[in-house]
Amino acid sequence: MTETAALMPRRREVHPDPYYPDYKTSLTRSPSLPLLSMESTPSEETGPRFGHNMLGALDNNLISNYTQGKALAVGERIRVHGRVLDETGRAVPHTLVEVWQANAGGRYRHIKDTYFAPLDPNFGGCGRTITDDNGYYEFMTIRPGAYPWPNRANDWRPMHIHFSIFGHAFGQRLISQMYFQGDPLIDLCPIAATVRDRSQLDRLVAPLDMQNSRGMDYLAYKFDIVLRGRRQTMFENKPEGM
């Protein structure tokens, strides 16, 4: 078999509380007993890999991928780009990044979303890409709208894009959300607030990136993502304690 290196333990304190009373659904969907913690095994240290050849030309362009380029989605045109790194600071190349989001009015193309804002006939709301040799990715999309959701009597989600990232190991699997610089709803959102440490929440907020914007075309936002790293050691294949 192929040897794999152990993953760095997940730092649970930088992640959300699973049980967070202001986010009501979490109350019945959070384990009440402790997680079983141990060193990663090959089951977590390996993971699915996806090739660039699975991608269509428009997969990372949410402005036009729903119509296969025939018509464009309504909204503020933006480019979202960044790098996928791991805790050691190394780029994570050739890893799948998937995104999904509401349309410019704050409505998802989903049977369970019944918000008044209309569907955009030219917007599906999903996209995907694979990072390049340097861990870099980019999407073209429209800025999603904020929207109300049933939680407390008047809760609104800030503008956000959902991100799903694989890494190279099943134990690196991560889903998160990207918020937008300057959105006043971030500080009012109980889902954003599940992240205890403000500095960790700030890392989910993408800054406006004018130098990577294009005049008369799109604004850019930069969003870097960090996955779990692997422990680097020459002592791995010895019995514990020896």
Binding site: M1, L33, S43, T46, G47, I225
Partner: protein, 199 residues
Amino acid sequence: MTQPLDILVETASQTAGPYVHIGCIPTFAGVEGVYPEDLGLSPIEDGAKGEVITIVGSIYDGTGWAMRDAMFESWQADAAGVYPGQDGADPKVSGFCRFAADKDTGEYTLRTIKPGPVKGRNGQVFAPHVSIWIVARGINIGLNTRIYFDDEDNSGDPLLARIEQRPRVDTLIAKKTGDGTYRFDIRLQGEGETVFLDL
């Protein structure tokens, strides 16, 4: 002062939300035509070595309600216990599957092959198992667990051995219900709570 450690911090998780299907299995969600087909429809192709099995189950919240909006990913070795991408792996086994709770009943189905025992470091051997990752609205960070099988010898498994309260071991073991069929229910919270993993 000391030298800086130069270790980055993992990006914080956020819930996958109720619309995770749009991003991960868009055709299932009714967003058709963006991709030719959804990713991870099956972990095996025709001709994969090993016993074809079907695992069925539900995921229950803390009130006992079968959740209708959960999404699952599975990852597993081939019949010889080799993971896809490793030397000698069965080319007909991708090992990865995405599946969702049924919108009406909450039940999920995973059709795959029974994986073989997996060798770990230092001579460890893990009994046949499928790794599972669960996301949904209300789950703030994806939950990891494993499906073992009640017709395999699980007695030497190093992970199951770490579970102090022995009755809880059963929460990770699928029950054989027929020829090649198993049932594996997941309980998120409360009585019979599934053991979730931090590996």
